[in-house]
Symmetry: C4
Subunit: 379 residues, 4 copies
């Protein structure tokens, strides 16, 4: 495994022919050491949910309208108070220095340039203050720590740094078993660490025979598995930031999130990285939308790879989506330019998807009809 410093991103000129997010993934694969590539790409268990996320999105067909005036078509909207160029935010992703030396800083600058929020992970390899200093709209993702006091300190730091929303991850009592990482004996290379955590971060010395990776062992030691709705209520009372609960799939949980004062839920199976066998996020979306009935915002993640995916999500009731791995691919390939390229493709594709389905904006997109095909389509 190479140290973070040994990454050699491609020049921005290679981006020209990368006309889809999948193409950017191919570029990233040329750059990343195989264990980091696996850490980014992998899912838990047999990766059934990982692949089902895509299959479920692929079988959603849109019934477009025509002869609407779409000359002024725009994806601009607001997300939790932030004005955004499109209903997309960069998902929290740990340790972004793994894929590029400038890590979260470069990705946040790209997000700023494209008018979308950037979410800083608790496991960020740069501190939230440095990321916020880029001027991007920054959301802070919180893993609830066994050290309760430290959790609240992180919230305070996020507030002080000017974050505009707080995103509590609720689907990680502990990290799911990810066979690729275990097989690779994956651990963080020198120079990459969790900037917000004082305790040591995962290192090579971890004994893989315990059945998990070093990263999994570290999170098990610091994350709180006894987290409940009562803690959410407590957190709600301690911050004025908009509160987002990430990792909700069951409609009854979404309704409860509303009752606890959440401003948004993220319908997510953690990109297929937690419960393998969990329902594809997009298949859980409609029931959640119905359950919350407009009382909070609904975001979606897990498998978004194109503008049409964003349209699918909007049509099924989402207010917006999070995009994770594709931004890492762009970051790996060409740093800020690469991450920006990814967001630029998404923006272009989303405008296309809106206009070609007769929508002049996000509100119209939420009224578009969809059908689920049982037809298997090769991909």
């Amino acid at each position: 495994m190479a140290a973070a410093g040994s990454l050699e991103p491609l020049g921005p000129e290679v981006l020209r022919t990368a006309v889809s997010l999948d193409a950017v993934e191919s570029l990233a694969e040329q750059v990343l050491p195989s264990d980091v590539r696996d850490f980014v790409a992998g899912g838990s268990g047999a990766e059934a949910t990982l692949s089902a996320n895509r299959a479920a999105l692929d079988r959603i067909s849109v019934v477009p309208n025509v002869l609407r005036d779409v000359s002024g078509c725009t994806a601009a909207t607001t997300l939790l108070g932030d004005s955004v160029s499109m209903p997309v935010a960069v998902a929290p992703a740990a340790y972004q220095r793994l894929v590029h030396p400038e890590g979260e800083l470069a990705a946040a600058r790209a997000a700023k340039a494209h008018g979308v929020p950037f979410t800083v992970s608790t496991l960020s390899s740069y501190p939230v203050e440095a990321v916020a200093a880029t001027g991007a709209a920054v959301w802070f993702q919180l893993y609830w720590l066994r050290d309760r006091r430290k959790s609240f300190e992180l919230v305070k730091r996020a507030e002080d740094a000017g974050c505009t929303a707080l995103m509590l991850t609720v689907d990680v009592p502990w990290m799911g078993r990810r066979p690729r990482d275990v097989r690779n004996g994956f651990a963080l290379p020198p120079g990459v660490e969790a900037a917000h955590l004082r305790s040591g971060t995962p290192s090579r010395s971890h004994d893989a025979s315990s059945g998990g990776s070093a990263v999994a062992a570290h999170t098990a030691s610091v994350f709180e598995p006894s987290l409940t709705w009562a803690d959410v209520e407590d957190l709600r009372a301690r911050t004025r930031l908009p509160l987002i609960l990430k990792g909700i799939l069951a409609p009854e949980d979404a309704a409860r999130a509303v009752d606890c004062g959440a401003d948004a839920v993220v319908v997510s199976n953690h990109g297929g990285r937690q419960l393998d066998g969990a329902i594809p996020s997009v298949d859980a979306l409609e029931d959640v939308s119905v359950a919350v009935a407009g009382r909070c915002r609904v975001l979606l993640d897990s498998g978004i790879r194109s503008g049409i995916d964003v349209l699918r999500a909007l049509a099924l009731g989402a207010d917006g989506v999070l995009v994770g791995r594709p931004v890492l691919w762009g970051l790996a390939a060409a740093g800020e330019a690469g991450a920006g390229h990814v967001l630029g493709i998404l923006a272009a594709e989303l405008r296309d998807a809106l206009g070609l389905s007769g929508c002049d904006g996000v509100a119209a997109a939420r009224r578009i009809r969809t059908v689920r095909s049982t037809t298997w389509t090769d991909r």
Copy 2:
């Protein structure tokens, strides 16, 4: 990329063993430069709709009848006033000189020989007057131009040339992103241009970094994205030609087309070239048929590749179909003879499909029952 003049069609003798449209496609692939092949074959986005069009047709099974007298079986019928040998018209396709030096002229002659209408595109590489001079029944396809006056001039030219129907394309506020063309830096070769448009046509000098192909950029500069139903009513008032709206998938839009005085709608997703993720055309057909309730004709395109596909469309409520790419394959392979070969195969297959399902003609075919199989069938 080769200039149009460098194409070397195969001799007609190669057609003998090309017993299906797919086989003609293989011949075309031997002749065409790769970027032209991609321009013809490609779809937008991930080409999900492109492949779903076929998958959706494949899973429609017909329940044939037997012991009807089919000795006089014929596919002859009328389409929008034209007597036709079968309920098929050649779909509009741009720049046919890309695939054969005689382009639209050869294809129209083949259509005439086989008794089906030929649709001239606004982006035709030969002018409508020259195509009409072949003596074929000619329909004129209109892209509504930003220059409104010019749009109406084109209608006038079509009327004067003796076109028997006017087909307004309604699903192209702008061209969908087609990754193959962007990757190939596709532009028209010397000698191929839009015969009806005075403004310059797409050339090599286009800067692909804008994210679209030269062809896409050109259409963006001349097509009107603010087109609405009011414009359709205006157009309806200005011509006595039968008016066909091409590119309708939503039943409410089909009903509105009837209200605007359309004589026909074409249920179409533009062969998977506009909104990737759009519903397969054939899956939208029944709802549209029900919505128009016989008040206008219903045509289908997007994926028709055999006589049984025509029967499927008729059985699900279509009055006829448009066939696009296969005619281009024939044209590429062997000019007029090749295009004619394609239409000849379709005619033979359709007669087979009618007779073997106990139908003596098109009217009977529209009463045939179908089932949708959830069985996946390899192709």
Copy 3:
């Protein structure tokens, strides 16, 4: 293409390891010239129905019962008056000398040895009298000829030869287009001809450019495409043999067959050789069974390849099945021994299927419950 005399069947010892019908198919493929192999294996059009027949059978799951006494389990029953060892008959197949010099004679001897009826085709390469002389229970398959008098002469010959049932094929107003045969320029080799037809049989001199094979052209010249239900009534009045109508898929046609006095219908799409795109036979079976409501027998063909397939058919309402290609595979591989091997495997598999689902015989099998899985299972 080799003449019939040049076939070199394998010795019976190779059968030992051929433990399934698919394995026998592999043996046949070693023996047969490629054009004959294609003539046997091929279907019409894109062969969609050919493959859908198997897929449809594969997704039918049986819900077996247990703890019934199956020590006396037997598949013996009667079919149209004939006592049979299992509810299986050999389907009519043309020109069996194509696959083995002893053709229909060898296959009939195998059928006799295994206690099942053998169906002689109108296009048999040995005359019905010679086949009946083997002592097998013989059914005669009739293609209604343009020469009506000759049709009735064939019926008379069948009666005189001692056939025990008459099977009228109703799904061939003309032969479906089979691309493999057209591509191969398939025609009968010297020494193989239709023993019952005085007019010349298909030869090499046929001009393939007409778009069909020589065999298709021949059948077009002799088969009657104007056949209707009135002719069936006429036929019914002229013979006392049990009358079977083969090639019915629509329930209304099955009900009409009963009204015309048919003793049985064969739910069949001609093994995917007539209307490509037709419903898989087994998917049409239940509706036909309900429509005839026990007023005539219901047989099934098209895709039966194992004993479990027979059980599936029985459970869905069939009284029995026809098996075609597999017998030809056995015949090609090792003559009478090979055909017998195929029937022996079927018998063993069917007894297994009955006993392991708790059925002591055919009557119990018809009460077994099935479910259709939407699960795709690789094969």
Copy 4:
């Protein structure tokens, strides 16, 4: 074929990177002679049910809950009176010396170490007394023998040896045809025999031409095909051990099992080794659960390969599962350590599956909601 003594298990160090049961299967394939590998892996017929078992499990998605306190999450429960670390028992499997010299003894020791019951087969290669002496919780699997007296003697031996449950297999009036074994001429190598049966066990001298393997012929000679519910009632009256009926798929049979006094049923298609074409076990589970309505325990086998599979079964109404082939893979790879490794993976995966779906234990898991996806997911 190698004798049992020639097996060379891998050292326990190879287990480290085998992080899933599928990976252990790969190890086993390196160790086992091909005919033994086929005997373990194979199914009956075309192995349609074998593969459908997996496909059916794969398409069951779980809707997890979040923000439950899972810090004390445990899979511990009771199965038929035995306290177990997880709701899993080792399935009966014949002749385990085929895969490792210590056979059932090693597997039972692994089961003991992991706190799950081990089921001894009637066809065990070590006697029940020796297996019970390992100290494991041992269940005894009974094949009802033609020699009725001997069947009851086996029950008596099981009771005397301290077995804690009796499992009567009800889906084997005779062994299903398994093509792999027939093709391989499979027979037991020297040194492997059925320790409980005095009559000779299958040997090389068996004549494979009879169409079955030597093992099949042996079982046909000793198993009773006339077994009925009356015999079950008789057995019930003769033993105080909890009685489990293994091999039930039809709900009416499950209800009858309750009426006969069964304490549990195993919903099973014998791992795809008996009726090919039988419904996937997991697709039969819900109807059986409803039919027994809590009046007896419901176990599931056939295709369980991970902790998420166990969760799927619990969520659909099972009280527990049996695991067969995976334990044999572990045993083959590394004896007791390998079998234990398999059980350890299952335990870790199940704890993960419970905790990540918000369940603190088995009772909560039985309330988890599932959906069946029609999405095809590649595996």
